[in-house]
């Protein structure tokens, strides 16, 4: 009860510190806003109703066939191709046309020296050269075609979509238009989507304002036209989406690293400090040795066996993230364990664990709380610098560090570096303000 009251006083004190409190609010809002990033920036509509059938592309994976297409893979909801499919202009008919085109080209035996490849180019059953000589005659080519496609035989049993589609609707016939209703997220891109087409004609490094083309002759419209509000990066991904996803992963990363670091640090530091003596002596040596393990090598070793990911980085950084906090906890415990009330409790036969939990930990909590925001900052920065050096989470994962490195490599593309710089420094500044506020509120010396 007493503790709670003290805590309340401290929180009151923190809230009175306007700079820290406002920072805290803004930071929390930034975090809460980026949490549902999938619903803010996504290449899939949240809701898609086709002919009364409800789809949730954002949650479920559909194949293009579900919408009447031919490809077995997930459709590109942003593409013109998919629009044709849904809204039924020339659309699937065009596709069928093309596919019959394709089967024509399978044995495109024209004497024009084009590199159009056909399926039959892979049949090694006829080693004789006569067939090759026949290729130069225009006439028999069309006759050969059905023979050849039959020869492949296994199309039917596999139910190959392409072939069956072309068999069903070989005459080009427009399918009836569908009734479509879609609910899109505000940004129609996610952190890894690379568009294949663009209305401005510029997919890669598109600026969010008007620019001149590479030859300096024509004006390229702002990337806003394509819905890239902060432009695109060096492979055409949306920067705003990457920033939002990147900020989210950075915050989660920093927070969880601080949490686990603090827990491990409290445990190890407390253990060392409470028992002191030999435990402390050996513990200190082990800590020193542990701290010098080349972390980069651990990273390189592990990512050779495992897929490098944020989780892996998190685990590796956890190897040493606890050290700062452990040193403080240890010092506090060393000090407190000699205080009268601890000695009294010991004399009364209270167990070690109980003493630590009841008497020492509450008193040592101050450094834990005051260090927390700075640990978060350290975690975020560790991720950012590793990503910047290309040692962190590999692309396409969203990452602030990767954006920074792109910004540096594309000095002319200030739409990359400016927002990234702003977001990163704002986040860390806010964290610092919060941390400073907490420190002021919790520092016992200031309480006096």
């Amino acid at each position: 009860m007493k503790l709670n009251k003290e805590l309340e006083v401290k929180i009151q004190k923190f809230r009175r510190d306007r700079r820290a409190y406002v920072s805290f609010i803004i930071l929390s809002m930034m975090f809460l806003l980026t949490l549902p990033a999938e619903f803010l920036c996504n290449v899939r509509p949240i809701l898609l109703v086709v002919d009364g059938k409800i789809h949730f592309p954002i949650l479920l994976t559909y194949s293009e066939r579900d919408f009447g297409g031919t490809l077995p893979s997930e459709p590109d909801y942003n593409s013109r191709h998919f629009h044709r499919l849904l809204y039924g202009e020339e659309k699937s008919a065009a596709l069928n046309n093309e596919s019959s085109d394709a089967s024509l080209s399978l044995d495109d035996f024209e004497d024009s020296p084009g590199m159009g490849l056909g399926l039959d180019d892979f049949e090694e059953t006829s080693p004789s050269l006569d067939l090759g000589m026949a290729d130069f005659e225009d006439g028999p080519a069309t006759q050969e075609k059905p023979d050849f496609s039959l020869g492949l035989g296994d199309f039917e049993d596999t139910g190959n979509p392409l072939q069956s589609a072309s068999i069903e609707t070989s005459p080009a016939q427009p399918t009836p238009p569908k009734e479509v209703w879609a609910l899109w997220p505000p940004i129609r891109y996610d952190y890894k989507y690379i568009p294949s087409e663009s209305q401005t004609g510029k997919v890669v490094l598109a600026a969010p304002y008007e620019t001149m083309s590479a030859n300096g002759e024509e004006v390229i419209e702002s990337a806003w036209k394509d819905g890239h509000y902060l432009g695109t990066d060096d492979r055409g991904r949306d920067i705003l989406a990457r920033l939002i996803y990147g900020l989210r992963i950075s915050m989660i990363f920093g927070l969880s690293l601080a949490v686990t670091g603090t827990i491990i640090g409290c445990f190890l530091g407390g253990f060392q400090g409470f028992f002191g003596g030999w435990v402390d002596l050996v513990g200190q040596r082990l800590t020193e040795i542990w701290g010098s393990i080349p972390r980069l090598y651990i990273l390189i070793i592990l990512s050779a066996f495992l897929v490098p990911s944020a989780i892996l980085l998190f685990l590796i950084l956890n190897l040493t993230a606890w050290m700062g906090i452990a040193a403080y906890i240890r010092a506090e415990f060393l000090k407190i364990r000699n205080f009268e009330f601890v000695k009294a409790a010991k004399a009364m036969g209270v167990s070690d664990f109980q003493i630590m939990r009841r008497h020492i930990l509450p008193n040592a909590i101050t450094p834990v709380v005051t260090f927390f925001p700075f640990e978060v900052t350290a975690g975020i920065l560790a991720l950012v610098s590793l990503d910047y050096l290309n040692l962190g989470v590999p692309s396409p994962a969203p990452s602030i560090g990767e954006l920074l490195s792109q910004g540096k490599n594309n000095l002319q593309a200030i739409w990359i570096i400016l927002p990234t710089f702003a977001v990163l420094t704002a986040t860390i500044t806010l964290l610092t303000f919060v941390g400073e506020g907490i420190r002021n509120a919790f520092d016992p010396r200031r309480n006096a």
Partner: protein
């Protein structure tokens, strides 16, 4: 006191041996070794890794090859053909007489026949004919430039600012300067560096061309030898300004706050109140009494800061401003698997850190006799 120092020194041995051992073990698991790296360097594979590698090559465009036999020779040069235990011992102490015919004892008493940390030989780089120490010395100009200047800048600024803030505690000056110092603390140095070269670098998009990106001096310029000393100094400072700025910007907050809080704490103490009651002028109280006590935490941090001053390295800032310093050395050693450098620098810097820690602890005792070291075990 002396026994305490001796005990601390003795405790360094297991730590250092542990550090080297654990690094040695780690290295064994790293994918890709120095021979692979050397192969890539020798065959110039790097140039093939550019966008249009194949066609960008000149007339000696033949694909070059290395026989497995040649790679075996490389392994020999790097002692990688030796058993693990031998390589491990080699890092500490190893007898490797250069001239076997000279007789055992002649060799035995020759310093050159020994290698290892125990005889203060820290190994030679795999890729250069230089030892770890020579390489460190080579990088010292950058590191010491950054280190010494930032040390003095930070210490002087922070003490002055800390005092001023303490005196004007709660006033507008205090709040505003806090915001600035904290923002500086928040901006990561390398991020600021990128930002600076975009807007103040020599490029087309820059607003002003203030920042040169050619190392620490313009020594490569024609006629540099004929420049006056004054011009050389200005040139040096000009080159140093931006990296130094990025390097120190984060360093003000902690020390300023430390100074300010220490002074505030002193201000509340009995002797200050007594002195004021006696009618001593504020300035006298501040400079004669308070400062002496308040600066203790600053002074105790001094030894480590001083040692570190010559060995500062910041990989990212060095990279951006093309400074060839210790940060880059360490990073490249890791990436290129230059194990002698990795082990040697780790050993030296760990040793320095341990000694620095000891000095810090000792300075506590020397300055503030109230602290007893019998409690703390180190």
């Amino acid at each position: 006191m002396i026994s305490y120092i001796i005990r601390r020194l003795l405790l360094m041995f297991p730590t250092l041996i542990g550090i080297v051992t654990i690094t040695f073990i780690t290295i064994q698991f790293v994918p890709g070794g120095p021979v692979d790296q050397m192969k890539s360097i020798l065959l110039g594979h790097g140039s093939e890794m550019s966008e249009a590698g194949g066609a960008a090559l000149g007339k000696q465009g033949k694909a070059q090859e290395l026989d497995p036999e040649r790679l075996e020779e490389l392994r020999k040069i790097y002692h990688l053909d030796r058993p693990l235990w031998e390589r491990y011992l080699r890092t500490f102490l190893w007898f490797a007489p250069e001239d076997k015919e000279r007789g055992f004892w002649t060799n035995f008493f020759d310093y050159d026949s020994w290698e290892g940390f125990l005889v203060f030989k820290f190994g030679n780089s795999f890729y250069r004919n230089k030892s770890v120490l020579e390489l460190i010395v080579e990088k010292l100009p950058v590191s010491a430039s950054l280190g010494v200047f930032s040390f003095f800048l930070i210490y002087t600024t922070c003490v002055v600012l800390g005092i001023a803030k303490a005196v004007k505690h709660g006033e507008r000056f205090d709040t505003v300067s806090s915001i600035f110092v904290l923002i500086g603390y928040s901006i990561p140095g390398f991020v600021l560096a990128i930002f600076l070269i975009v807007f103040l670098g020599p490029g087309d998009g820059a607003i002003a061309h203030w920042i040169p990106l050619s190392g620490l001096t313009s020594a490569s310029a024609y006629g540099y030898e004929d420049w006056s000393t004054w011009r050389k100094i200005v040139d040096y400072l000009h080159h140093l300004a931006a990296p130094l700025f990025c390097y120190v910007i984060g360093g003000f907050a902690t020390l300023t706050m430390l100074t300010k809080n220490a002074i505030l704490e002193e201000l509340r103490k009995q002797y200050v109140i007594t002195a004021r009651a006696k009618g001593l002028p504020e300035k006298v109280i501040l400079f004669k009494h308070i400062l002496k006590n308040a600066l203790i935490p600053l002074v105790t941090g001094f030894p480590i800061a001083f040692l570190g001053m010559f060995f500062t390295g910041s990989l990212l800032i060095e990279q951006i401003f093309t400074l060839d310093g210790l940060g880059l050395l360490g990073y490249q050693a890791v990436i290129q698997r230059d194990y002698p450098i990795v082990m040697g620098t780790l050993f030296l810097f760990s040793l320095m850190a341990l000694v620095g820690q000891l000095l810090t602890d000792l300075s506590y005792v020397l300055i503030d006799r109230r602290i007893s070291f019998e409690e703390s075990q180190g």
